[in-house]
Amino acid sequence: MTLSLDVPKIRADFPILRREVRPGVPLVYLDSTATTQKPTVVIEAMDAFYRNNNANIHRGVHTLAEESTAMYEQARAAVAKFVNSPGVEQIIFTRNATESINLVAYSWGRANLKAGDRIVLTEMEHHSNLIPWQILAAERNVELDFIPVTDDGLLDLDAYRSLLEWTPKLVAFSGMSNVLGTINPVAEIVRLAHQAGALTLVDGAQLVPHQPVDVQALDVDFLAFSAHKMLGPSGIGALYGKAELLETMPPFMGGGEMIKTVHLRSFTPNDLPHKFEAGTPAIAEAVGFGAAIAYLTEVGMEAVAAHEQELIAYTLERLEEIPNVKVFGPSAEKKGGVAAFTLDGIHPHDAAQILDRYGIAVRAGHHCAQPLHQKFGIPATTRASFYIYNVKEEVDKLVDGIYEVKKVFG
């Protein structure tokens, strides 16, 4: 089996990559860590759903309702298979990874944590895996500890081992940093947490789109991810959880669908996964998510990871040639397709704005990881990030663009 992607063929599947940002200026999309572009099959699956099948799900008995329900549940089965969940009902559809993490914080956290309990996080967390725990900590007098990030952008596992001596109840960490690109040793972190009696939650918003993820092999207790970062639509994400945990957790939100029986003053919660899916869900988006997963499965996640490895290695090599560019994070083999950098004397906003002249879409700011930027003593970085449709020629355009930025400020 070959690990290389047929990138020209892949690019042809993404209509947006044919657009020009301005006349004569083609799009160079290097912002996939924020959100990925969508292939035609995803766009068409959602379009076809609305044209042919649209109905509310689970209770209707008419044909459209049955078709819609089947399509929604097929998408769940596809997601379950993609991360090797032992049960389809262990996949809860949410709005995004953020909501998945909040679900665990509100439901599991409030049912299981008391004053003085500890949660271990890391210094590289996206705000989505920080704020829910800060809110919980303030409400329940729970203590938060942080695995430090080393200067080269790795987690300090010796410090982690020390934190585990305080017997935390949960270790919640990012599988892959959205700024440094660091791919953390998930299996190792989970194994150590379990030895210390802690549960684990992996923020997989970046990890799941970029390499094969097997929840059983990793033995992770919760995994959160978003469809829009893996070719799917925005508005839908998933939470995987171990069955025995999800079964004992109280509902997160109340409403239709999450109940079995309802009386005026009481209700019985529904079975998994419906217990956690109150209200009409994002049905068309689930269908789109399913189509995205089918596309990625066809491409092959091993090949996705290998392609990104090749691109990031090339990117780091090219960026290092440029005087006064500093790239954050570890060396290529320890990271995914993310390069956050600073240019001496040039604010990232200015860099990103000038790169946009050349059709190059990069992100400037703190990328929802303010504490990490504080740690490195910088307010913001410029971030280029890659996915399956990016090519080395686009990295070259980025490098040429950076020289243009330097010229403006020269």
Partner: protein
């Protein structure tokens, strides 16, 4: 688009005329834009007639935020405080001579926000000051 980094702005960013800190001063205020880390401090001296005699800004951030601070101070030296209080978003945009999207607008208006919070003697700067 290219106008954003026209010579005037780059020049004021690289060679600001009013960068510094006045001590003593009559008015001093600072604030930042946490989204991008832009930070501006403004110090002013005001004479007995309520006229700005000297002004300085200090801080760090993108070219738009720093150039607009320099241009803004340049425009108010010699003016009565009462006139400074009336400055609006449009006045800053006129100084810069560019059109800005919503994200970069915050960069451009930080100095005006700081200036107005200072001259009004407010405890904190709010976006209402620059509408």
């Amino acid at each position: 688009m290219d106008d954003l980094y026209r010579e005037l702005i780059i020049d004021h960013y690289k060679n600001p005329q009013y960068r510094g800190h006045l001590d003593p001063n009559d008015i001093q205020f600072e604030d930042d834009n946490p989204l991008c880390g832009d930070h501006i401090e403004i110090t002013l001296r005001v004479d007995g007639d309520g006229r700005v005699t000297e002004g300085r800004f200090d801080g760090r951030g993108c070219a738009i935020s720093q150039a607009s601070a320099d241009l803004l101070i340049e425009s108010i030296v010699g003016k009565p405080i009462e006139e400074v209080k009336k400055l609006s978003k449009q006045d800053v945009l006129d100084l810069l001579g560019i059109e800005l999207g919503p994200v970069r607008l915050k960069c451009a208006l930080l100095s005006l926000k700081v200036l107005k919070a200072g001259v009004y003697g407010l405890g904190e700067a709010s976006d209402e000051l620059v509408e």
